[in-house]
Amino acid sequence: MASMTDQGRTNTFLNFVFGTGSIMTITAPYHLRLMSAMSATGNGNTSGANGTELTSGNSPGYTALGNTMGSSPTFATFTAGASAGNTNAVTWTATGTWTGGVAGIEVWDTTSGTPLRWLQGVLSTGISASVVVNGDTVSFASNSITVNAGAW
């Protein structure tokens, strides 16, 4: 997922490196959130705005703030010119019809009080509203979410 970094996090890094800002505290594990829509700018990156997360109300079996991406490392080792994938699979089991649909994903940490969004992206093939029904499972396999440093 090139270019899917949250600009707010990028700005914090740049202020830390070149300015007077301090680096943020990160609390693992990271969580994968499913979004029914991304921000008005299309992918949430330009404006820094978050998308619209599924809820347990419109998507029974989904819990707000997403599912954990498991123990560290969340992603494989990053190297120049290559993408690194998620280490663990993340799965939800629907207990009713998901009327929200799944348009994109976001990766958040679990910082107490105010979790931070780190990555986000639109699914080029998403799942429309009401396609997922009771008893279905929705899963992101290990290494299905890839990130690279080439276009941050």
Binding site: L123, S124, T125, S128, N134, G135
Partner: protein, 75 residues
Amino acid sequence: MIHVSCQNCHAYDVVGPGHPAVTYSAETGQHLLTDRSALRHSHSGDCEPHPETGHYPLHFEFMAGMAPADLTGGS
């Protein structure tokens, strides 16, 4: 692309642009899996629909080797 399989008989579709279950939204520029009934199944044996929904329970999986091309960002 999404690997969609029956949880019982494991018949599957690889769903993406061009698949009959997928519709393109010009509004969002996104392909969406919209038509569950267009998914291919070859149910056999004890493959039974969910008792409450009448649907065959499916597993929607974004798989390694598929999802990277699925996921686009951009700023």
